[in-house]
Amino acid sequence: MSFNQIIFIIFSSMLLENVILSQFLGICSFLGVSKSRKSAVGMGLSVVAVIVLATTVTWLIYNYVLVLFDLVYLKTIVFILVIASLVQIIEIIIKKFVPSLYKSLGIYLPLITTNCAVLGVAIKASQNGLTFFNMLLYALGSGLGFLLIMFIFSFLREELEKRKVPKAMSGIPIALVVASILAIIFSRYVGIVKEDEGEKEKELPRTANVISMHLTPSDEYLDNIIRRMK
């Protein structure tokens, strides 16, 4: 695993395939909790933590229980059950032992159970057959993408609140139009990252023997020779 590849996976899941803007996951909380910057960042941070944790657990269950027993069709029910329970358990524990953390991040946890970003990323990571390390990177990148957009968007919305907007457009409609413009900007990130050199095409053919290639020269090669002879 080269450094390039790591960067590629993180950037592509964070910017190119942004969970909110291009995959439309977690829109409810994107619109709901982005009214103030503080809660948006809190939500974003807890999503990052839960996505990484939940994806790891579900990936392990998928590959070592469901695939092994040929029970892939149970994935939705098992995943959501695990995620919901996990989140609830974490919430209770933080509430008891780290009240300050609960006040700043923990209150977002229940909302995360019904956040499709978490289940969506977990299903995609398992179904696409990623390796363990790639899955971690993918989950981290997706979570960071969520956090980034939440931050930018809450900033924009705070500014919007101060401006005068036509009455019909105020609130959610104008926020959606702003999100649209943000999506246009983010769709332009395509091409900012390139896949690793290792993925680059080598010269064809890989295993063909060199002799046979010389015995049957291509038309182009013959053309060149004839032209030169003239």
Partner: protein, 225 residues
Amino acid sequence: MTKKENFLKGFIKENPLFVLLLGTCPALAITTSLENAFGMGIAFIFVLVMSNTIISLINSFKKLKELIQPVRIAVYIVIIASLVTIVEMIMQAYLPDLYNSLGVFISLITVNCIVLGRAEAYASQNTVSDSVIDGISMGLGYTLALIIISLIREFLGNGTITIWGDLQINLQGVFEFLHITPISFFTSSAGAFMVLGIVLAIMQAIKNSKDAKEKEAKKQEKEVK
């Protein structure tokens, strides 16, 4: 609330997408063609009606209701998730093309706020028959909203309207008449946000003018008095 009112509320007054602003994820993601909206709507109605029925049935037994209290949400989620999985399996078997184009969003009906919201807010407190009507009403209302958005997006973005499979209405002529080409922006993700935003703005404008009229009417009433 009468049964008729209960049935009609999901369409406009309490439309889950336009008024309650729930279930926005699939509404943005899969509304690229009318066929997708239909498919999603059918799957959604099935899950919502069934989950409402089962959950109101469970809650009609007092003993059972107390028993599941600590793991209430988990039980609801298990029920909803298995209904979703059934839909998923049937769709994969008999409607594979639709299954492919809806992709992960069928599984994500599980975490759709509308389903869980209705289960908690309505089905757990009302009778079975009321919950069924509520499910049908909300499901149809949501489907209607999906259809409206997908009609706009598919027409403006592709110039076509796909009803089901190969059954397609070609409206390229309209664009040719105006000497423009379909605007592919509307099928992209940015277009989805824009269309939903504008539709919501129109809804809000209608509501605002209605409210203003009502206020005026009340004012006049007072003056008469």
